[in-house]
């Protein structure tokens, strides 16, 4: 594999670990490259590689040498510059740490990483990763190391045992020789191939709305000198069109980076000066169209080609190639001699670049700050999941058109515009808070938040049942939220008390109020007469007649008022009272029913 470049780089080994050596002036530099990165993680283990890197560096003797570590998508890099003994000490120390990770330090390092992550923020590059890949592989880095909250000591050690081994690493040294006394004592393991970065299937090219002030576009193409040159030409053309000639952008650039042995990601970025967003979008479309058609300014092509060739012209080319050769070796990519690369660059024609342009367009995902891109042939990237689950419905208080649905298969949040759904089968992150809130992250990048304080009918039991259904391996317990971080329903909405027993009867309509008032009035009238009647039973009239109550009395009209009459009268009063209660009560029940339904309560069938 490395025979072809042995005039530049010597391939050897140290303790059986593949080592690349190339001469360089000045202090020695060395790098230990492991084939593991954020793209190997899941959301639930997000940050674990970075954590291991930090732990491996913790026991550093901070001698005068210059040293550092970096975690990328596919590689974790430890490098050092200094005297031979400083290099030996550093590499020895890193290996010692990796053999026996200072896991007691994990909590502190997690805090440090969390602080770093908070400072980073979620930029358009992260949005691009999620949109293209979802919350897996290259998209994991965009979820912000959430996994740190869940990762335990055993997982950290397991990760180190799996990936930070002698079989998954390459050492490179820029210097005259392998420094004497260098040992690389790492445990055995296996070589781990780069996981193939999959994209969420959708019609391409596609676009989606992004934040204000800039345009981003990327595509994954086949690795080649032509693709690398295309990126440089695109950068120059974009700069010329958007900044120099147009004055629409301050920054307009393009980057090319390998993602695995065969493929590379080309990323285009341009910012927009105030009021120029639309022109930046249109300008980008036209620059891409020009390259696709092979319309390339001769000057752009020659300066790009010269820049590419200049890279191959440096005095210690072998040393300059060391890090990328180490990575290519670990990726299983073909290592090409710079002379062959030079020949390729010299022979690339506008037609070759046009072919790359077409390949790029076919896989392009654009992030734009305004409008749509359908006029340029881009399809809208779906903003909503294809469907929603069926299950128990929890409308939002104050907005019953937004509903969280918890079903057997997963959770959805439905709105009049569409639904976001995460199925348990493809839930890669299940975030939990002590206050009961939950957020589910799906492999396709969609997420659903469940906030019990905002939804009618959501109880501790609801959340417990959800917890039982969620995939245990994806659980990420997060620290308590401050009270003002917990969302509250809008204060203008009064939350009706839910019935504790099933409320089945919905009462009577407004007519019942009318009838109830009538029966009430009648009842009062009868009540008055009943009192009167009762009072007249068993009295002595002015004539001195006294009649026994058992027979009856003679009222002022001379009629006999029997006890039966009195009982009958009181019965009518009771009937009227009962009717009034029934009708007015029924009307009140209807009002309550309506309030509950308006708040989103579901009446039993």
């Amino acid at each position: 594999m490395l025979e072809g470049i042995r005039d530049l780089i010597q391939a050897t080994d140290v303790d059986g670990i593949p080592t690349l050596l190339a001469p360089q002036d000045g202090p020695m530099t060395a790098g230990l490259v492991f084939r593991v990165g954020t793209a190997d993680e899941t959301v639930a283990t997000g940050g674990i590689t970075h954590l291991v890197e930090h732990l491996a560096l913790f026991t550093q003797n901070l001698s005068a040498g210059h040293q550092n570590g970096e975690t990328h998508d596919n590689f974790t890099h430890f490098f050092v510059r200094g005297t031979e003994s400083q290099v030996v000490a550093f590499l020895d120390s890193v290996c010692a740490s990796l053999r026996d990770l200072p896991v007691h330090r994990a909590a502190v390092e997690k805090d440090i990483l969390r602080t770093e992550a908070n400072g980073r923020g979620f930029g358009s590059a992260y949005a691009q990763r999620i949109e293209r890949h979802g919350a897996v592989g290259p998209g994991v880095v965009a979820t912000g190391e959430l996994g740190l909250a869940a990762i335990d000591t055993e997982q950290i050690l397991e990760w180190a045992r799996t990936y930070f081994t002698r079989d998954n690493v390459v050492l490179w040294i820029a210097g005259d020789r392998i420094p004497p006394g260098l040992r690389l004592d790492l445990p055995s393991g296996a070589r781990h191939a780069v996981p193939r970065a999959a994209a969420i299937p959708q019609a391409m090219p596609a676009y989606f709305p992004g934040s204000q002030g800039s345009v981003l576009l990327d595509a994954i193409v086949r690795r080649s000198a032509a693709a690398a040159l295309y990126s440089r030409v695109l950068a120059k053309s974009l700069f010329r069109a958007l900044r120099q000639e147009g004055g629409y952008s301050y920054t307009a650039d393009c980057r090319y980076e390998p993602v695995d042995a065969e493929r590379a990601r080309i990323t285009v970025y341009a910012d927009a000066l105030p009021e120029q967003q639309a022109a930046v979008i249109g300008g980008l479309v036209d620059v891409l169209a020009a390259l696709e058609a092979g319309t390339i300014h001769a000057e752009d092509l020659s300066t790009a080609r010269t820049a590419s060739l200049d890279v191959l012209d440096v005095p210690h080319l072998g040393a300059a190639m060391l890090p990328s050769t180490a990575m290519d070796l670990l990726m299983g990519a073909r290592v090409v001699h710079p002379a062959e690369v030079r020949r390729e660059y010299e022979h690339i024609t506008p037609a070759d670049l046009a072919a790359i342009g077409r390949e790029m367009k076919a896989d392009a995902l654009a992030q734009i700050p305004e409008g749509d891109l359908e006029w340029a042939g881009f399809s809208p990237s779906p903003r909503w999941s294809r469907g929603a689950v069926q299950g128990a419905r929890y409308p939002r208080i104050g907005d019953p058109t937004t509903v969280v649905v918890i079903g057997n298969d997963g959770v959805s949040q439905t709105t009049p515009h569409g639904a976001a759904t995460v199925l348990f089968d493809s839930c890669v992150g299940y975030l939990t808070w002590p206050d009961g809130a939950r957020t589910l992250l799906g492999a396709d990048g969609f997420r659903v938040s469940v906030e019990p304080s905002l939804h009618l009918g959501m109880t501790a039991e609801t959340i417990a049942a959800l917890d039982a259904a969620a995939p245990q391996g994806a659980v990420i317990p997060l620290p308590p939220r401050a009270p003002d971080e917990i969302p509250q329903p809008p204060s203008a909405v009064s939350i009706p008390k839910l019935p504790t027993r099933p409320l089945r009867w919905r009462g009577y309509g407004a007519w019942a109020v009318v009838v109830g008032v009538i029966t009430a009035l009648l009842g009062l009238v009868f009540f008055a007469t009943a009192i009167d009647l009762t009072a007249s039973v068993g009295t002595i009239d002015e004539d001195g007649d006294h009649l026994t109550a058992s027979v009856g009395t003679i009222d002022e009209d001379g009629d006999l008022v029997t006890p039966g009459d009195v009982v009958a009268r009181w019965t009518i009063v009771l009937i009227m009272a009962g009717a009034t209660i029934q009708f007015l009560g029924g009307a009140h029940r209807r009002r309550r029913w309506k309030r509950l339904v308006a708040a989103g309560w579901q009446p039993p069938l």
């Binding site: 147009g246 639309a278 036209d286 042939g377």
Partner: protein, 323 residues
Amino acid sequence: MSRVPEIEHPREPSYDTFADIPDYASLRAAVDAGDWRGLEVGLDSLPADEATYAMTLLAEVAGIEAVLEIEHAAHAESAHIATLLAMRRTVQAWEARTRRQSADVEPERFAAFLSLLRESEIMLIAVCGAHPNFAPAWAARITNARGLQLGASEMRRRARRHADLSPHDLTAQGAQLQYLLPKWFGTDDDAAAFARGCAAAAPEGSTAPAIVAVYHLERWLETGGRAAGTAYLSRPEVLAELRASAARSVLHVAYRPTPLGVVAHSAFLMAFWLAGAHADAAVHVRALDGRASEFPWRYAIDEPSELGRIRAEILSQETAARR
């Protein structure tokens, strides 16, 4: 007292179309014969602004899309054919939408409008990519920017790319003016400043200063026409500006009559006529000698047949005023 002299007009009042403009005889012959390469040569022999105008008129020929689609499929590399087909799609788009206010257009018509405009735009993007110096494609994209509701900075970017290739182009500047009107996406200040800037920058004898007449006609339209419109157009400062623009443009000694000149003359004529400035109008009537363009006449009249009466009225008023 003598009779009002009869002015003989050899032809029936009608609008200029691709089918009847005398200057386009050879272009017509090429189209009729299916000689598309000949058409391209003919268009390339015209000044850029006249070529674009000729293409927009050809794109208005009903049914022309059929032959254009066939030719485009056979010769995808031809910028002229692709641009003609794209322009035709844009015409079809506006026919689907009708010229009503947005709020009055049914959703299905609007969907058809956008779909056809997108077809047009995708073809034009490819033409501009392969032939970045082909002015008619950029001109067509200025109009598309309005229909597709692209931002002002994008419309200006296209207009700038076009102006670099063909400055003082009445068709392209007219498209830009439409975007800048309050009825579309601009303000009156934007529109006025733009029109005046075009007129001031144009060389003497150019048709471009007629954009000032178009601007004032758009303002007339905004007032609702009739009495309020006449009051606006007959303001001394408006008339002065119209006269100055006409004097630099189609009334200038350097002016050479072209099909685009008919549009320019028509704009001045209509503005003076609506203002009641018959003496000024009469100059343009005589210069036009019976020719007229649909734009901007369609703002004021329903049928070109009314032009005969209008001309007669203008000339008789002029004669009366002279006595």
